[in-house]
Structures are given as C-alpha cells and as structure tokens.
Symmetry: C2
Subunit: 465 residues, 2 copies
C-alpha cells in the first residue's frame, strides 16, 4: 500500500448544516493537514499526536483565515480505511466546505471517487467485499428490517457463513486432489459416501441462502402491493389514508425526512411499496377503468394484492370483481378489502356471500376508508402476509443481487458435482466443479475479484464513504 494517493471528500450530507465533515486518508494525510491547520494550543504537530484525539484550531489558506475546526486523528491501521486518516469537522457552510476541500487538493490530496474510502478499507483488509457492500446498504436502509439485514452483512455474519462453506469445500478438494496425485494407483482417499454427505450439507446451505433472497430483496426494496378493484370503490381514498397515517407516525424530527413522492408505507419496520398507483392518484378513482390487462400486469408485479370492493355496490359487480381478480392472484397473498361499510347496503347478503368463498388463504377485512374504520386491521393484515420468522431467528438473509447470482452459480456447480459423484464422474472433472463453487463463493467476499467488479460495486456508493 505504498505510494497510494491521499484522498479527500465531504462525508456529511450535501447542503448547509450546523457542522460539516471532511475526510482525508492516505500516506500524506497528516502532512497535508499540518500544512493548513494551526492548532489553538501550541504544542506537538498533528503527526506527533496520539490516535483517537481531537484538536481545535484554525484552517488557513496562506494569509486567509478559513475556519475554526476540530481535527480528529486516526492512525494506520486503526482507522476506517486502514490508512492514516484525518477528519475535519468545520462550520457547515457550503462555501467553507468547498474552500477547505479545494485547499486540501491544492496541498496534494485528490478528490475521492464514490466509495473510495470503503474500497481502501477492503483493499487494506479491514473488511471483505460483502461487508463493504453492507456499508452502502446500511446507509440506504430506511426501515428496521432493511437496517437489520444490512447491519448483519456489514458486521460479517454473511461472510462467516460463506467462509465456512469455502473451508468445507477446501477440505473436500484437498481430499480429491490427493487422489489426483495418486491417480495412476487408482486409490480413493475420499470415501464417496462421506463426500456425498458433505456436498449435500453444503448444497442445503447454499439453497437456504439463495431462498432467503426472496425475503431479503423485498425487505430491501419494499414489499410490492397492488391495489385493484372496480372503478369508484375507493381505491385512491384508501391509498391516501394508508400513506397519510404512515406519514403521521413518522416522527417530526427535523433533519429526517421521508420521500413523500414514493408510495411507500412502513409498518412495524417493514416497508410496503404500492405499485402503479400513479393512475390511481391522478384520477382519484373516478374515471379509472379496470382494464383487465392493466390489472393483470399489476398483480403480476405484486407480492400482496389488495382487492377493494364496495359494500354498497350491486352484488353482481362485487362477484364480477372477485371472479376477475381471484384467479390472477393465485400464488400471491390476497387481501379482500370491503370498503364503504359506513354506507347503507345489503350487508347481510354480502357477508354471507363473502364468507362462502374459500378464504382459507385470504384475509377479509371490512373497512371504511372515508371514516377510518378498521384501517389498523388492514395494516395488521398486511404485516401478517410477510413471514418474518426467518429474519427474527437472526438467520442470515441475502439481499444483494450480486450475491444471489453468485450463489445461484455456486448451486448449479455443486449440483453438477453431486450428479457427477452419483454417476461416477472422474476425479479431475469433479475437482473442476468444486473449484467453480469455490470461485463463485469467493466472488461474494472478494477473495476472487477484478477491477471491473470492484468498479461496478463502488460506483454506487456515495462520495465520502
């Protein structure tokens, strides 16, 4: 790690704040800092100070006084990047941030690329690749569940599982390769039944991880929910109320905002994402036509379908709506929402009909969006549709598509090897399949990587991380 450049970037969120935060990392971090920083208490130079200490002083550009700042000191290898690292906390004016950054560049630092601090942490062995990706996910996480998964990943739980698999595979391969060395003598050092058992075990684990991606992905991206139903049954009113109640729950802490444009709600730490609601919100349900194709398309994208019915509607309309949606929602989680129960209607008959439908796998909820009746019940029903037991058991959940794809390839390779064993594949071909599994698992943690893969991963990081 000699001769690496010293990088700098603003690490706090862009814009004006009370305080801003500039990071400087690399061999020259201390000397560059010394060239612009004048400590308030005369004494030792920054480079002579202890790690994990804070120093008050002034930043000057030659004659021009730029700011009073605090400088925090971290020493290689005990820093985020594993390099000498300085953090400057200055007044949060954008002008000052820019001045200090320009000054650092003038003194020899270069502007960090997105994620370059974390890339250096990876290159210096402070974390593996999946942990580095966990850092980005952590910063992007916006719910309790996505936070938990990202934190697990950043802290290395996932890496531990992958490394355990790799260790077992390496054991396996060392046995196989011993055979290859003695191949002319036609001996079997590895008992084929033991090998089969070991591979079954590894395969099970890989499948378990691969399967967890479905949960991991919806938690990360939000669980897709479709609201469907005949025109004028109150879909947009319902959507607005769900969104509004959630917005009201989000505490009014300044400095934290939730993007109000996206149709997302958060129930007990789980994010639900309503899909294709643009039309709904524009038309306010009045002129929207329940086009069969559009409804099908919506349902196809959803994990949960909310079929909204109007309790005051004619029975025929209700029946038609159920007949249209129910077959399409097969394999999805269906919640039947009977709206407008505050209005007069043939409720007795309706309830009778609905109870009669096989609702083994469906939830059936009577609400009034307009008068807020049973909205809490609907929230509970949404939450019930998500099986979080897997997450609650502190199982590792895969949420990164790159990891998922590498796991899928590992699974295919190990399945080839398993078939190979049962069909008496030669040892050298078996070894090749196992090496492939090792390769794909190594890609996840970054044991095996290349500049292109790294580039793709870190380009999505924010600057300063």
């Amino acid at each position: 790690m000699n001769n690496v450049t010293t990088i700098c970037a603003i690490a706090s969120a862009p814009g004006n704040g009370a305080i801003a935060f500039i990071r400087l990392s690399g061999n020259e971090a201390f000397s560059i800092c010394e060239s612009i920083f004048e400590p308030a208490t005369s004494g030792k130079k920054i480079s002579k100070q202890k790690a994990f200490t804070i120093h008050f002083g002034k930043i000057n550009d030659e004659e021009i006084f730029i700011d009073e700042v605090l400088v925090s000191l971290f020493r290689n290898p005990q820093s985020y990047t594993g390099e000498d690292l300085v953090e400057i906390s200055c007044h949060g004016s954008q002008y000052i941030q820019q001045q200090i950054l320009q000054l650092l560049i003038k003194k020899g630092a270069v502007l960090a690329q997105p994620g370059e601090f974390t890339l250096r942490a990876f290159l210096n062995g402070k974390m593996d690749l999946s942990q580095a990706e966990g850092v980005a996910d952590l910063i992007a996480s916006s719910s309790e569940a996505s936070h938990k998964i990202a934190m697990q990943q950043m802290r290395g739980s996932f890496s531990i599982e992958i490394n355990e698999l790799r260790k077992q595979l390496l054991n396996f391969i060392s046995l196989i390769e011993l055979e290859l060395d003695f191949s002319e003598e036609d001996v079997e050092f590895a008992d084929r039944t033991d090998l089969s058992n070991l591979m079954n075990k590894i395969h099970r684990k890989i499948v378990e991880l691969t399967d967890s991606f479905e949960l991991g992905n919806v938690i990360k991206e939000g669980i897709p929910v479709a609201i469907v139903g005949n025109p004028n049954v109150g879909k947009s009113t319902l959507l607005n109320i769900l969104l509004k109640e959630d917005r009201a729950i989000v505490s009014e802490i300044p400095g934290t905002t939730r993007d109000a444009i996206e149709d997302i709600i958060n129930i007990k730490g789980i994010t639900f994402r309503f899909i294709d609601t643009a039309g709904l919100r524009e038309t306010h349900d009045k002129i929207e036509i329940m086009g069969i194709d559009r409804t099908k398309e919506k349902i196809r994208k959803a994990a949960i379908v909310l079929l909204v019915l109007d309790a005051s509607d004619a029975m025929a309309n209700i029946q038609a709506s159920i007949r249209t949606v129910k077959p399409e929602a097969k394999g999805k989680q269906l919640i039947i929402v009977v709206n407008k129960v505050d209005l007069p209607g043939n409720h007795q008959k309706l309830i009778g009909y609905l109870e009669g439908i096989d609702k083994e796998h469906d939830d059936l909820i009577y609400i009034s969006a307009r008068t807020h009746i049973n909205i809490d019940k609907l929230n509970e029903a949404l939450l019930r549709k998500v099986d979080l037991s897997y997450l609650a058991q502190n199982n590792v959940v895969v949420s990164n598509i790159r990891h998922f794809e590498a796991l899928e390839k590992s699974r295919e390779a190990i399945e080839r090897a398993m078939n190979g064993i049962s069909s008496g594949l030669t040892t050298d071909l078996l070894a090749m399949d196992i090496r492939q599994v090792l390769h794909y698992l190594g890609e996840i943690t970054g044991e095996i990587t290349n500049d292109e893969v790294l580039g793709n991963i870190f380009k999505n990081f924010c600057i300063g991380k």
Copy 2:
C-alpha cells in the same frame, strides 16, 4: 447552570450522507451516552475518559443493535456550549440518525431548539451575542466577502470595538455621576471640553460603524444589479451568459451546490444579485416592453445599473434609451454596455456619440454577448463598482440589521448628549442620554438582553447549531 436539560440534535446537513453527526450537550450528556454506548475496547466508562478523545463502539437500544459509531468527548467548560458535550458520528442513513435521536430522547435528552447549542454557549459566556449571530452568518455565507465579515464577527472583532466604546462611555459616566453626587455643591469634576472631545470621538466611531452597514448589507445579501435597455438589445442573452460563466467557474465538487434558481453571480468573492429578471428570462427579451415605470422601479432597487444598448440599432433608439435611463441612475453606479459589436452597424458614429457623453462616473464597455466578446471586461467593471478598500483594510463591517438599528439609536442618543453639552444641559439629563447609548451598545453584545430578543435571534439558526 444547574438543572439544565440535556439537549440533542442532528448537526450535519439533513439527508443521507456517508456520515451523520449527532450532538448531545448538558449535565447528563455523559450518563445518557453511557446508557446506550458500548465501547469496543472494554475499559473506562465514557464519563471517566479524557476530554478531546474519540471512542469506537456500538449503540444499542436494549437488545437491538443500532450502529457502530465514533463518540467524541468534550468536557465543561472546554466545549462549544461550555457544558459536557458528546458528538456521535454514525453511518449517514436517515433511519439510523432517527433511531439514535429517538433513543437519546428515550434516555432523557430533549430535542434541541434551533440555535440552542449556540444559545447555551452565549449563556455560559463562551461568546457574546454578536459573536453568536456571527456563527449563523458564517454558516449562511456563500462568498469570500460575506465569509470574511461573518468570521470577523464570530471571532469577536466587532465585539471588541463595541466594548471599547462602552468602556469609554462608562468612564465618561462615572465622571458625570460624581458631579451628580455633589450636585448641591455645584462643582464640575468633568471638564466640559474634554467631555466634548470624548463624545466626538465616540460619535465618529459609531457613525463609521453605521456607515459600514451599507457595504456589509450588500455583501451579505449580494449587490443588487439592474439590467435595463430597449427590447431586443440582448439583455436576456447577456444575463444568461453572466450566470453560465459563473456556474462554470464554480468547481464541480460533489457535495457543494449553488442554487441555480436565483440570479446570482460571484465575481472574485463578491456576490452580485440581478433584480427583477423573471420577466427577462421568461420572454427572452423578445416581447418585453421597456415600461418606464418598471425600469424606474428596477433602477431604484439597484446599486449598479447595466444599461444595455444595441450597436446595430438606430442612433435615435440608442439616444432615447440613454436619455431615459441616465437621469434615473443618478447616485447609482452606471455601466453602459454596448452589445452586438459583432454585427454591422455605424460603429464609428456610435463611438463618437458615446465618447461625447460625460462618462466621468460611468463605465462604457463594448461587448458581444452572443460571441462572448469582452464579457471578462464587464465582470471587471462590475467589480470596480464595489469599493472594497474598506473591507480590505480589515475594518469591522456591520452586516446585521439588528446591530445597525442599535447603532443608529446609539448615534441618536449620543447626538442628543452632544447637543446637550453645547446647550448647557443639566448633568442628570446628560447622564440619561449617555446611559441610553450604553444600553443600545449593550444590546449588540448581549450585555443587555431579554428572552424575546434572544428568541428572535436564535429562531433563525439551524437545528444542531
């Protein structure tokens, strides 16, 4: 300062960043921090650690692990607020920021009001009121000049001048009051000529400060520039080019942005603000009618007037334009901009005519906005119109309207006292006027203040400062 609450707030800019920054200040800062923070290296509690040190560890909400953070420690009185103070630097996800803040509140901290950290710094004698106001100005400053003025104010240069004036006035009043004590004996302890000289000196200084507000205010708010001229002379093209060239100069450093909506340019650290350009930009100069009233109004608001002429225009139009604008621009800085010099026209005659106009106080610049000819010369001319010699001499410049108003009242009171001396006013009435001067000057630094004044000042601060 006993029994004050412990306050907390996010101090970095709102939104997602690589790192976020949470501040906690007050008697319970250490104990609240200890209740949620688990240091990575087992050892002393936070409250037992040295000031100016940094500690790595985890923040937990009971069983739930929230983040890995760095905790920085500052001890009363050596902290920003003068209280025990903890700064938590966490991953910059809004979810995490919110979780930590809620946790701090659960453990007994209260959410800080805007500017409350700085208010406490003021109440604990870490800075006076004008310095505290300098902090807010510093964060808002967006140009070299406004940064310089705010920094001077925050660092106390202005306070020193005010306190010097107060000291002289207190001297003065002690002499006067001695006379009051002995009033029945009809003695004059204070020589009236000496008093007069002293008051003249104080008055001069107050007037100097008051006068500096004109400069201070335009630097803080931007120097108002009006672009006027006949339709179709190229006003909007010129405006767009001035704005665009400036935007291009602003370095492309991520994390710093300049509001592109406002018509502001920055030339060598001075902000120029174009006024009433909305019409210009919408109509692109094509259908804009040079309404006399509107032009007058624009010129009235401006410090600098750019009169744009079209070199290819008929002489009569050019003359009419100058005849209309020149009298209105009396007392303003006028720059005559002859545009479209790249087009054919009777340039010889035009130059002859323009040279003939008394241009002692005017700048006359030949440009082509379309082909970018002499735009640099126009920038230089704008800069020449601002007299920065006063600022360059490191004189204190008043930029705060509250200070200006207090200085104006001080000036009125001292003028009353001066008139009183020359007209033989009784000593007790003289003392009353001097006390008024002391009062108003004391308002500036906060020697004299009340909750309403403090409330008005700090409500405009950002949260976390």
